[in-house]
Assembly symmetry: C2
Homo-oligomer: 345 residues x 2
């Protein structure tokens, strides 16, 4: 394992991205996104992605020089075209656009299409929450990989179909719920496989549709189950609506056989709290709610009630102090990528 | 068990409501809502509620003569005040308002407060889908009963905090996802208790915060768990956001100690599809998506992949033909209520 300081990690990523032909503004923005994912402990969305991004640029699937554009439909609706940009750059752009529109319209919807890997959704709803708005982000079709079976079915049809929600607080970190609609992330099954470990129950099907805890069965034509355990029909229902928002309403048309492509679609909603009630009243209410929840007596096996996002914030605070833990394999891959690009790290 | 035809059930309910001083328009509207809940197999939201409604009217908690009013904030935002109306009447009103606003604004949000029992949420998002829009409804604080523990906690703090989503289809029933954020409905625990049966795992805590399958433990100071099984932190996160929308943004201020009251809050979003893409293109896309999902091979133990709402539609089709099955106890309670009100049924 490598321990790397946040600023250092950000620099390393920036240097690699500059060599990959990103503008300095885009390199710095994307580096901040990726390094922050590592900082928060979401390593699957951090520096580990660079070798894949390198590959996708080399194959002209994603374009480091892409200019994100948008079409304004009405005071509250717009569409963002990533033009094959990395999803982080187009999503930051789209979230800003949603914020600007919601400032006047009260609520705004922005569809996003033609983007590469979307990155950590929590970042964009956090961005919206920082503007004192409620944010939602729906995302479909992670680069065309179909991995999620519908409830009752055994074919991999949907992607992880994640979504994120955020709500601001006063002088406290926003509440950020960032979740896949699958019971387990693809990346976690991969890690379990690499460690020769089983995954928990109710997460995987093998290729014949039988429940399994063995990661090898998943990679041998199996699928991920929607989350929810015995109520996985609820997780499936949510996955379906993520697809409707991010795949259809976004105009990404991910599922149409005519336009199916190796790209992601997204859909953002921004709701300006001040158009609904005075901000101070909102903050008072959300404090009352959160305090009520945090004051609950704790069950055995838990040390406290954590609000969505709190666990990541604790990890970030610790890693800011002690450095960020990067897995050795990830680090080795970065070192060899840097060598290939003639960068000293 | 009693078998009653839909039209007959609707008549019985209408007659009871007329005696409870509802206007004929409101009686007929509420009767249709309740009878449709029974028709769809959602018996917990059907005629079984009448004796409770009778009681709440007698105690002046709910007002059968209440006039729902609204305040327009902007082209896309409004607030509905039920003035102690039954939630169904105020919610139908609010959904209509959201539809009208979304027709011009593209998307609209309507907060709902000061209503009694909200009824079946699926009905209002269905109403929005019937106008070729996507609908969302968040609902909190079922009449002040706190029953849901936060993930990791053991105190009952939230209500069942349900929400519903609907998406229209062409010449086919809308997709309707109508779900509590708890793993099991309060009503189902009550039925299990009456039948002396256990409930499934991962649904209940006893008063000490230990997992239990015994309904008696729940009624002895226990709580409902958020849905999600091992991923119940996701269900809890959703419950929290339902509270933020329906309890805070709605201006219902359900959780503030200053205004805590025996009422529900609601929040509706209506999104007019035509403002995003041509309706025909949307229908083509959603057909492609649904056909893909329905064509999945089926797992052992399942007979087909069901989309959200399909199971209820099948029950409704059967009960339309063969009559609606009303549990004997429910029927006996209705007969005795009718007698009290001097109505022949």
């Amino acid at each position: 394992m490598q321990i790397i300081e946040f600023a250092n990690l950000q620099n390393i990523i920036t240097n690699i991205l500059l060599k990959l032909d990103f503008s300095s503004k885009d390199a710095s923005s994307l580096a901040e996104h990726l390094a922050t994912a590592n900082l928060l402990g979401h390593h699957s969305h951090g520096i580990i992605r660079l070798p894949i991004y390198y590959q996708r640029i080399k194959e002209s699937i994603a374009d480091p020089r892409a200019k994100t554009t948008h079409e304004d439909i009405s005071p509250s609706i717009a569409f963002v075209d990533g033009n094959r940009a990395f999803g982080q750059l187009a999503s930051i752009y789209a979230a800003n656009l949603a914020i600007e529109k919601a400032k006047t319209a009260g609520l705004a919807a922005v569809g996003i299409n033609n983007i590469d890997h979307t990155g950590r959704l929590g970042a964009y709803v956090q961005q919206i929450a920082d503007a004192n708005m409620l944010g939602m982000y729906f995302c479909n079709g992670h680069s065309g990989i179909r991995m999620q079976a519908p409830y009752g079915g055994k074919d991999s049809i949907l992607s992880a179909n994640p979504f994120a929600l955020a709500a601001p607080r006063k002088n406290l970190p926003a509440i950020v719920l960032d979740m896949a609609t699958t019971a387990i992330a693809h990346g976690k099954v991969m890690s379990a496989k690499n460690r020769d470990e089983n995954v928990p129950e109710d997460c995987l099907l093998d290729k014949d549709g039988n429940p399994t805890c063995n990661p090898l069965d998943y990679f041998d034509g199996g699928s991920l189950l929607p989350f929810g355990g015995k109520q996985a029909y609820k997780g499936f229902g949510l996955a379906l609506f993520v697809e409707i928002f991010a795949g259809i309403l976004s105009r990404a048309r991910m599922l149409s056989t005519k336009r199916r492509q190796d790209k992601n679609g997204g859909f953002i909603l921004a709701i300006n709290i001040e158009n609904f009630l005075p901000l101070e009243m909102y903050f008072e209410e959300i404090d009352a709610l959160c305090n009520d929840l945090k004051a609950s007596q704790v069950r055995q096996g838990f040390t406290e009630v954590l609000l969505p996002g709190e666990r990541s914030n604790k990890i970030a605070a610790k890693q800011k102090e002690q450095g960020i833990e990067i897995a050795q394999q990830t680090w080795d891959d970065i070192v060899s990528l840097a060598k290939k690009l003639d960068i000293n790290i």
